[in-house]
């Protein structure tokens, strides 16, 4: 039943030692609550090479989502800096970073097509041009024929596809995904994961993928970064040396299980 994957091939796309896509330097974050100050993240240093699919996992409340929001320029860290493609992040930078949220966060009064085109609209791209691009992207995520539906007419999985298409809309080199499949059921999550890999394979963007799902993390990523509980620190960076393209059979392999177990034991010790 299990395939022998004890000696997996080296992951595809060898990384040239060029400039990292994301460079996180000394990020520390504190915030105030009713009961005093909380140290959420402590001295995070991470360098992510272009084209890598990197997972971010950790116990609940470890600040992995906050870290992603800092990369997106939505939250300002107390200390440290983040460079994306060599330039510091001081605020939202939609040309460099696409963001996909846990909630699909679609504008309910806009159609699927208009939602995908929304970032381009904000940049003042003419209607015909942005809608042509959005249509292409909807086809890419498998939503041909759903262009004129409103979000409430779409299933949870479809909404998330629209959100992913929107993330790709400005063709940013980096895609940040904050538990994008967390609100979906198991089957939809698996299907969408495969779809995401298929699209990613075509474009080879750098992806940072925050998730709770360890199976999902191992299945999707080139590398999984494990954060510790509060304050969040980098515990380990685990290279997922499974070959690509990934297949469902791999999940049953011993190696897959070992990788998953390795991450789980790191996290479990935290809580």
């Amino acid at each position: 039943m299990s395939l022998d994957l004890a000696e997996p091939r080296q992951a595809t796309a060898p990384m040239t030692p060029e400039q990292p896509a994301i460079e996180i330097q000394g990020i520390t974050h504190r915030y105030k609550t009713g009961r005093g100050e909380v140290l959420a993240l402590k001295d995070i240093n991470l360098s992510i090479a272009p084209g890598r699919f990197v997972g971010l996992v950790g116990p609940s409340g470890c600040g992995k989502s906050s870290l992603l929001m800092m990369m997106a320029g939505l939250v300002r860290p107390s200390e440290g800096k983040i460079d994306v493609r060599g330039a510091p992040i001081t605020g939202p930078a939609p040309d460099r970073l696409g963001v996909v949220f846990q909630e699909a966060s679609l504008l309910p009064w806009r159609t699927a097509l208009e939602n995908v085109a929304f970032p381009l609209k904000l940049r003042g791209v003419p209607r015909a041009e942005r809608e042509a691009r959005a249509e292409q992207l909807l086809h890419l995520v498998g939503l041909k024929g759903f262009e004129n539906r409103h979000p409430h007419e779409l299933s949870g999985g479809m909404k998330q596809r629209v959100a992913i298409a929107r993330g790709f809309c400005q063709d940013p080199p980096v895609l940040l995904m904050d538990e994008p499949f967390a609100a979906l059921d198991e089957q939809t999550r698996m299907t969408l994961g495969d779809e995401l890999l298929r699209i990613w394979d075509q474009h080879r963007k750098t992806v940072v993928f925050v998730t709770h799902g360890l199976t999902e993390a191992v299945y999707l990523c080139d590398e999984v970064v494990v954060l510790s509980g509060r304050p969040g620190e980098v515990l380990a960076r685990i290279e997922i040396d499974l070959p690509r393209p990934r297949t469902w059979e791999m999940m049953a392999s011993e190696h897959f299980g070992r990788l998953r177990e390795q991450i789980w034991s790191l996290i479990r010790r935290q809580s």
């Binding site: 909630e103 904000l122 940049r123």
Partner: protein
């Protein structure tokens, strides 16, 4: 629901459907209203028969029409003020969390006051012409617009705001693309309440002290004991208010067309 209530009616044979009962009661009421003054059960000066009200009212249609036009103009101007200022104030209050906490309770307390008491102040300041009506009615309609706009803005899905921020939306695109469309259904329902209050405000003001307008006309006919015309005037006000309400509720339906709970066959 309708099946369960309708079937015993058919079985027992004599029991009316609730809708039929409603219309029957209204019809009986109307007939009684028609007969009572005509048969002399109630003095005609107190209660005018509906037919008399219509006949006598329509006979003086010219007077009513010009008064109605006058009132309608006052209402339109007041609506502009109430909607414009109320919407703006609501937007500003709704956008700032602190402003919301400070201003909303104050605004809702003011909303609870019997505002009619300031009308004598308005007439003392602006005379008994249209100006005092417009000031009064604008103020009267202002608070529901402020309250519902602020509530609508406050309830905008935070996820959408974060998303738009991540896409690099600045202040104005955020307002026009996210906040206003999201708040619109709540805002329009406030416009509906505000519109009703503006209408009442103008008519009430005209009834109290005025030189023209439908409210003034009603009062004048009342002091002259021309009862049918009084009833006709009231009917006109109801039609005016109902028409305005229908218009705004149609707007309301359009504003929330994207909502799932709406019936999409209209699209």
């Amino acid at each position: 629901m309708s099946a369960t209530t309708a079937s015993p009616a058919r079985v027992e044979g004599w029991r009316l459907s609730p809708v039929a009962l409603r219309w029957l009661c209204l019809a009986i009421l109307l007939v009684l209203w028609e007969i009572a003054p005509r048969a002399g059960w109630v003095p005609q000066v107190i209660l005018a028969a509906p037919s008399a009200a219509l006949i006598d009212g329509l006979a003086e249609w010219d007077i009513f029409a010009s008064a109605l036009l006058f009132t309608f103009t006052e209402i339109l101007i007041s609506l502009c003020f109430a909607y414009g200022l109320g919407g703006l104030a609501g937007l500003v209050i709704g956008l700032s969390p602190f402003g919301r906490k400070v201003a909303l309770p104050l605004a809702s307390s003011l909303y609870a006051l019997p505002l009619v008491v300031i009308y004598p102040v308005m007439t003392a300041w602006f005379g008994i012409g249209p100006a005092s009506k417009i000031w009064f009615a604008s103020l009267y309609g202002l608070f529901p617009v402020i309250l519902s706009t602020a509530a609508g803005v406050q309830l905008v899905d935070r996820n959408l705001i974060t998303m738009a921020r991540a896409q690099g939306a600045r202040f104005w695109p955020m307002i026009t693309e996210v906040i206003i469309p999201a708040a619109l259904p709540a805002v329009v329902s406030g416009l509906r309440v505000g519109g009703a209050l503006v209408t009442v405000g103008v008519v009430v003001a005209e009834m109290l002290a005025a030189t023209d307008g439908i409210g003034f006309l009603i009062t004048q006919y009342r002091t002259m004991f021309q009862t049918p015309q009084v009833y006709f005037g009231i009917l006109l006000v109801l039609v005016l208010a109902g028409g305005l309400d229908t218009l705004i509720s149609r707007l309301e339906r359009r504003a929330s067309r994207w909502r799932p709970q709406q019936d999409h066959r209209h699209e």
